[in-house]
Amino acid sequence: MPIDPNKIIAMAKDAFPGDEVKLIDMAGDNNHFMLEVISASFEGKSRIAQHKMVYDAMKGKVGEEIHALSVKTKIPE
């Protein structure tokens, strides 16, 4: 059962309060998403660490209800 994209946004906003969060449906099938998070909390962290923070925010759903999640992390200008 594909996940409701609003749920993904809610989880991201929960983990990154006040930060900009963008979700793009890559395939139009509610199953392949790209999640972009812009947060100062990424500063000084490796790409792996940054992406892990985003995956962790999804509370174990990646690979389960969320079939594919591409991650893009940025630090605010």
Partner: protein, 108 residues
């Protein structure tokens, strides 16, 4: 489970570049895995491909091993590099080539 972890450890210790992927390097079975194969092929390096679709134990085991929820997963000289998003970014910025040069896997 320990057997799977040992197997994974052995693969990444004995091969310079290991890609845990869906399908194999000649026939990738997912766009993200295909992209990673393409990137390393472009850089002209040999990769050890491990098809997680052939072994559910490896498919789950590698996620636990790396503490990373998605496939593909890239290891260079035993170090976890990330998945396709990171590979793409590092490739585009030149960082990936630089890393391979540093690890003596390609000439500068």
């Amino acid at each position: 489970m320990q057997e799977v972890m040992d197997r994974i450890k052995s693969e990444i210790e004995n091969n310079d570049i290991v890609i845990f992927m869906k399908g194999n390097k000649d026939t990738p079975m997912c766009g993200f895995s295909a992209l990673v194969v393409q990137i390393f092929s472009h850089l002209g390096v040999k990769i050890r491909d491990i098809n997680v679709l052939e072994d559910e134990n490896i498919r789950q085991g590698i996620k636990q091993f790396s503490d990373w929820p998605t496939i593909p997963q890239i290891y260079v000289k035993g170090e976890f590099i990330g998945g396709s998003d990171i590979a793409k970014e590092m490739f585009q910025s030149g960082e990936l080539k630089q890393l391979l040069i540093e690890k003596s896997l390609i000439a500068s």
